[in-house]
Amino acid sequence: MKLAYWMYAGPAHIGTLRVASSFRNVHAIMHAPLGDDYFNVMRSMLERERDFTPVTASVVDRHVLARGSRDKVVSNISRKGEEQRPDLIVLTPTCTSSILQEDLQNFVDRASLYSESDVILADVNHYRVNELQASDKTLEQIVRYYLDRASKEGMSNRSLTDAPSANIIGILTPGFHNQHDCRELKRLLGELGVSINQIIPEGEFLKNLKDLPRAWFNTVPYREMGLMSATFLEKEYGMPYISTTPIGISNAADFITQVEKLLNLWAPVLLGRKLNYDLYVENQTKFVSQAAWFSKSIDCQNLAGKEAVVFGDATHAASITKILAGEMGIRVSCSGTYCKHDVGRFNEQVQGLCDEVLITEDHTEVGDTIARIEPSAIFGTQMERHIGKRIDIPCGVISSPVHIQNFPLGYRPFLGYEGTNQIADLIYNSFNLGMEDHSLDVFGGHDTKGISTKSLSDKKNIDWSPEAESEPKRIPGFVRGKIKRNTEVFAKQNNISEVTIDVMYAAKERSSP
């Protein structure tokens, strides 16, 4: 047992549900007690989804404990199959059901006899993997399932597309700026003359998965999700993949070089020429991305040597560290991640770019580190934003756990050349806010102290009984003033000289909006 107030990565079934509900026409059935379908709320609220989240629960209650799920799961699966005709139903175990140790695989086998939909059991262990690892695993499981079936039925198509093409693997619902990143990545590849074969899982139909191997290569923008599928495709179908995240100018250039290398394996044969993107990279860096110029400008000069702390998932924390230290000359005092399962790679990436590396899932440890270092700015998750609030240090949010504000309506990619602009803004604004506050303090703050309130109170006319005086203290601060004012107006109108609790509530009952 451990005492925990907060966790960076969610439980395993969340990862499975994210993958299942990202594909088109896939339904997930959770074997879970009442109230565990909170994922539906998150998706509906965070992504402002217009459609019902395709996740239902096969509710585990006392009867299930007493007699086992028996036919309940099976009938729920076949019922859902009839109601909504999904292509695939993913039976999702939860931590509760994994303790019950029921033979869910048996249920799945039975249900697939009756159901017209395909049925699979998500193969994740709740006590060993977290949300990110589970999403990686589930995606691989689904990809493997459909590709194996296609090759069994002789339907698999391994001929490369005529023009260069790529798959994007690992775009998920609710993911941190995933939608915008996906659009930017599509654009980037498009400009390189690479068409998109498939994007999985987001918005893809399962029946199309058999054509996955037709792409020339795979890209995995986030290491946390999709790497397993990419390695599976490499092993079974010989598809190369790029796991470099094109966040930041140097990473983007690195990414493009790798694309060039992979394309040139086939280009001389299929296209009859070799590809070279040097000029493209140069143009983008100089003219599309403002980030390179920004790091040269006076603004960025002012940031040189300032201290920052970075914390987030492995992909984002490593990339941002690279940008801060490598591209902007900011001193990263500490860079860390909560992705304990990917430590080796993270260490390798941030080596030499920061003073210390922090690997932890405990937010208090992160908080203490930040408090000790007292950086000028923090780049972290929503939790670090609040840590920053408490100790008055500005924070730019660069990584999940997600929050409604990480689903902006406007275009805010982190990837690609537009992403470099967004990140430069984020970094500059964070530092600058802190400096602004600091100089305000130095010059004595906003000069607003002399302004009197809009209160209508006139102490000479109206007295508050001691009882009533204490009452407003129970009212939330932001409405307190208004209530006090309304009460006094009411008292005046009714010629009441002393405000008692009765008068307060009488005023409340009368007040019109």
Binding site: M1, K2, L3, A4, Y5, W6, M7, G10, P11, H13, A32, P33, L34, G35, D36, D37, Y38, N40, V41, M42, S44, M45, R48, E49, R50, D51, F52, T53, T56, A57, V59, V60, D61, R62, L65, N76, E83, T94, C95, T96, I99, L100, H126, Y127, R128, N130, H386, K389, E471, R474, I475, I501, D502, Y505, K508, E509, R510, S511, S512, P513
Partner: protein, 459 residues
């Protein structure tokens, strides 16, 4: 009053969306100021809490998870030792007056003996430990509070029956000592009887209800829960208890059977009609002639006339997730709305008897059809029904709110009713403010512009 029909109850599959009952820690930890809530469970619970409670999680809340790991599930680790370690840590960090353990589905399934371990640890660390099993196997959402209050009812000091009733503070009574320093002095013309109200309400709402009763010369001797753990009210024979929320049936049962209190079964003080009926029932039990209630009620109705105009004749569909549905529907009907369906997770017909009767009477009075009451609803079926009936408003959880809006059904997020101040006459405006918001918003757009938000999603 004779009613032509009786209410029809149906029961569906129980495939509905609601919050896990452990969410009660969100409001209970704020209510009981010196408490610490420890949820014993897995990552799933923690994830739910941190997401459902949003920003409060950043405010150093007085709750935490005792997160179970593989070793705990397979009993390689000793539960008592593990809990001791964690509770000592809490004691050192926060020094609460009480630690409340919230048992979850996981502790149920692995049969962790929380009730057995608690008294041992309590002695060892010197802080009372209350155990509430608020798990999703048995309960829905607000019922979590019910289990917590039922557990706390056992910790209330014993009220020694005195002929002269007393007034004032209960006195600071430690939980181990059953009863001491009860001064039966301070007699007042207010005190007719010993009345304890149960249900967690924001303190300003609690004092509004106290005040409503004070108008009838009834003194409320205490609340379960109280603001501080060591101010829990005295309970025992001769104490009247009355609930303020419809989901407190276990607490009511515990108070009656275990603490020998007398339950006043009344409708709940939600809406001016409910508040009046609630006060009248308490008065009738305590042999008091209610004074000025009718005028007061009609005054409140007059004051909310503007809101009522917005909703009269509109139809509403309660999907059901927090057990406030019957009272809310009754109030809506009284406001002139037509209720198509009342979904509700669990229906205790005995505890809610008076409320159900009032609902029936209200339907007759307003010449409204009796709504169907659906226990353990099936959300999928409900959405199908809603697409046929096309209600003006759906009261629903957040999982369905956006998709329904996209299908042109205005929605109000039901959880707001659990957190907003809805009790007592004074808060009638607040309820209607919430209920009418989606409807007012619809009408407020410039004609012609509304079509911009029309969605194209079909069936």
């Amino acid at each position: 009053m004779k009613t032509p029909e009786t209410l029809a109850f149906e029961c569906e599959t129980g495939n509905y969306h609601t919050f896990c009952p452990i969410s009660c820690v969100a409001w209970l930890y704020q209510k009981i100021e010196d408490s610490f809530f420890l949820v014993v469970g897995t990552k799933t619970r923690g994830y739910f809490l941190q997401n459902a409670l949003g920003v409060t999680i950043f405010a150093e809340p007085r709750y935490a998870m005792a997160e179970l790991e593989e070793g705990d599930i397979s009993a390689q680790l000793n539960d008592q030792k593990e809990l001791e370690k964690i509770c000592l840590q809490i004691r050192d960090d926060r020094n609460p007056s009480v630690i409340i353990w919230i048992g979850t589905c996981t502790t149920e399934i692995v049969k962790m003996d929380l009730e057995g371990i608690a008294p041992k640890l309590e002695k060892q660390i010197g802080i009372p430990i209350v155990v509430a099993r608020a798990n999703g196997l048995d309960y829905a959402f607000t019922q979590g509070e019910d289990t917590a209050l039922a557990a706390m009812a056992h910790r209330c000091p014993e009220y020694k029956h005195c002929k002269t009733n007393r007034q004032g503070e209960i006195g600071r009574i430690g939980i181990q000592t059953t009863s001491d320093n009860k001064s039966p002095s301070q007699g007042s013309e207010l005190t007719r009887s010993n009345l304890v109200l149960f249900g967690s309400l924001p303190s300003s709402v609690a004092s509004q209800l106290n005040l409503e009763l004070k108008r009838q010369s009834i003194y409320v001797s205490g609340w379960l829960p109280s603001q501080k753990y060591d101010e829990l009210p005295g309970l025992g024979e001769g104490v009247y208890v009355c609930g303020v929320n419809p989901f407190l049936s276990r607490t009511a049962t515990t108070l009656m059977r275990r603490r020998k209190c007398q339950l006043i079964g009344a409708p709940f003080p939600i809406g001016p009609d409910g508040t009046r009926a609630w006060i009248e029932k308490i008065c009738s039990v305590l042999n008091i002639n209610p004074d000025g209630l009718e005028e007061r009620e009609s005054l409140i109705w007059k004051n909310i006339e503007d809101y009522i105009q917005v909703i009269t004749g509109k139809s509403v569909f309660f999907m059901g997730d927090n057990l406030l549905e019957i009272s809310m529907a009754r109030f809506s009907i009284r406001c002139g709305m037509i209720v198509y369906e009342i979904g509700i997770p669990y229906m205790d017909r005995r505890y809610q008897a008076a409320e159900l009767l009032l609902l029936q009477q209200t339907c007759v009075r307003m010449k409204a059809p009796l709504p169907r009451i659906v226990e353990k609803p099936d959300n999928y079926g409900q959405v199908q029904r809603m697409q046929e009936m096309k209600p003006h408003l759906a009261i629903t959880g957040m999982a369905h709110a956006n998709p329904l809006e996209a299908r042109n059904i205005d929605t109000k997020w039901s959880v707001e009713f659990t957190f907003a101040q809805i009790h007592g006459s004074s808060n009638a405006r607040d309820i209607l403010e919430l209920v009418t918001r989606p409807l007012r918003r619809g009408g407020g757009f410039t004609p012609g512009f509304r079509s911009l938000s029309k969605q194209t999603i079909g069936g």
